[in-house]
Amino acid sequence: MAAIDYDVELRRAGAHATGGWRRVLFLAQRHVLGAAGLVIMTLFVLTAIFADFIARYDPLTIDAARALARPSMAHWMGTDSFGRDVFSRIIHGARISLAVGIGSTALGGAIGVIVGLTSGYLSGWVDLVFQRVSDVLQALPLLVLALIMTAALGPSLPNVIIAIAIPLIPTVSRVIRANTLALRELPFIEAAKSIGMSEVRIALRHVLPNTLAPLIVLGTAQLGSTILTEASLSFLGLGIPEPYPSWGRMLSESAAEYVRTAPWLVIFPGIAISLAVFGANLFGDALRDILDPRQRG
């Protein structure tokens, strides 16, 4: 048997990382990819918040004189055909992507949670109806639904958020419902009943907090996919309208025509989207490992 360095092994297992930031640091080391994801997400959020300070030009100002400039010191990512600074637009685009991502995830999530909780908690015919409705929503292709929704509502930021949020509802509500059903069987819920607690209070105080972990995991995963959905909608001409610098919009239609003459118009927004979604996915993945107790080694 080879000699074993206990300290090394323990360090690897994270025994030194107790409490507070040491634990966070350890988790970051253990989940390098997740940490990278968190860094990307943080940068993304900071960019969105401080877009006005980071961007070097107004993202909307048109200047024919500097149209289609190659990436240079003046314009790090070049300019588009309107002479707008691509870098500034990407920086401001973070804001829109974040708004779409967080907005639709939060909206779809909130409704999904309410539906899922009610459905799982009340069961009976309410559940049956909700289940069928979510069957219906799930059998309709998400993009088709979003397409019709944006067509109905007209393309604007809030409408795009709503259109993307609606197809999210069944996904979220299914997860929450399954969780609620599982939780309902647990003795602590029965204990709450036995002390005479009302059903609503049980649902809010005991069931909901315990569905938080799967919700967060689902949320981060969805965050990424909503950003992608917005991009796809934009590609099909139904995303956030001009002149707002949505990344999807920057990539779509007209920009695609520049794929070889001015590739920076296509490359940078594409990278921005991929990176943001990638970051959200990395982080979500790690979060799932950390939050899901069954995943712990």
Binding site: M1, Y6, E9, L10, R12, A13, A15
Partner: protein, 334 residues
């Protein structure tokens, strides 16, 4: 097998640790014991004291990471299992040494037929055709007294009751006629009447096949009814070892004694008034933050200053080992 060993298993100074993020768990700390042919050795102790890890260490199935066998030797009929490479060890597992687990439901593969699971065990170690192996499987099921074994062999685990599943596990474990069988709490998940059936079955088969048996349990009643020799574990250590008669007649370790006293007994007759039990105060210590010296000292009425030093396992006569400085006073004080 070239030669018949009387001493089937000899474990010396086995140490298994877990490296976890809350620290180093010395789950098995310097444990030694032996099992003879046809003998039943019981290991008792409370939850988390290292019984299962001991068993898994013998099979070399301790999950790594986080676990690691860090010392000692396990010799099965003279071969040191810890020195074998993984392929050699695979040839031993399920063949010369087998194990039955606590949860019969989760320990069987839910998507495989019972018969196929036994067939697999046989074919991994015997060069037999599927047909021959299937015959053996049915035969084994018959041996563990499953009615209509040929039909049951084609069923899936969920179609069997808990008792029958455990019988199937036993059939699988014994299919290759191992020299050593490890049973890790084989009846804890079962009802008392079924438990009695299963234990009787295991003892019968053991007698029939001459297998050495390591029976792990936390139920002193089961120990009394099944074992020839007993090891008592506490916090990863062996604190006492004796023949079953000696242990029950005269427990030498305060923990063993406390345990025996705290177990309510079915009144033989006329005992009954509702009365407080003798309790052992405090809780089982965490394996990471073990007290210095004797791990039981903080809960022990007999604890003295000296207990900060770990008491060696001493022979208190007739092979009755106990790790306590005041073993000879235990009977009087308690």
């Amino acid at each position: 097998m070239a030669k018949e060993f009387d001493l089937v298993l000899e474990v010396k100074n086995l140490k298994t640790v877990f490296f976890t993020n809350s620290g180093l768990f010395r789950a098995v700390d310097d444990i030694s014991f032996t099992v003879r042919r046809g003998e039943t050795l019981a290991i008792v102790g409370e939850s988390g004291c290292g019984k299962s890890v001991t068993a898994l260490s013998l099979m070399r199935l301790v999950p790594d990471p986080p676990g690691r066998i860090v010392g000692g030797s396990v010799s099965l009929e003279g071969t040191d299992l810890l020195a074998l490479d993984e392929a050699e060890m695979r040839a031993v597992r399920g063949n010369r040494i087998s194990m039955i687990f606590q949860e019969p439901m989760t320990s069987l593969n839910p998507v495989m037929r019972i018969g196929d699971q036994i067939v697999e065990a046989v074919r991994l170690h015997r060069n037999l055709s599927t047909k021959e192996a299937r015959d053996i499987a049915v035969e084994m099921l018959r041996l563990v007294r499953i009615p209509e074994p040929a039909r049951r062999a084609r069923e899936y685990p969920h179609q069997l009751s808990g008792g029958m599943r455990q019988r199937a596990m036993i059939a699988m474990a014994l299919a290759c006629r191992p020299v050593l069988l490890i049973a890790d709490e084989p009846t804890t998940a079962l009802d008392v009447t079924i438990q009695a059936q299963i234990l009787a079955l295991i003892l019968d088969l053991q007698k029939e096949l001459g297998t050495g048996l390591v029976l792990i349990t936390h139920d002193l009643g089961v120990v009394a009814q099944t074992a020839q020799r007993v090891i008592v574990m506490y916090a990863g250590r062996k604190v006492e070892e004796a023949t079953v008669e000696a242990l029950f007649a005269d427990p030498k370790h305060p923990y063993t004694r406390g345990l025996m006293a705290s177990i309510p007994a079915v009144p033989a007759s006329g005992v009954p008034v509702q009365a407080r039990l003798n309790e052992i105060p405090g809780t089982v210590p965490s394996l990471v933050r073990l007290p210095k010296g004797c791990a039981f000292a903080p809960r022990c009425k007999l604890a003295i200053k000296r207990c900060e030093e770990y008491p060696p396992l001493a022979d208190w006569g007739g092979g009755h080992l106990a790790a306590c400085w005041r073993a000879d006073e235990v009977a009087e004080v308690a």
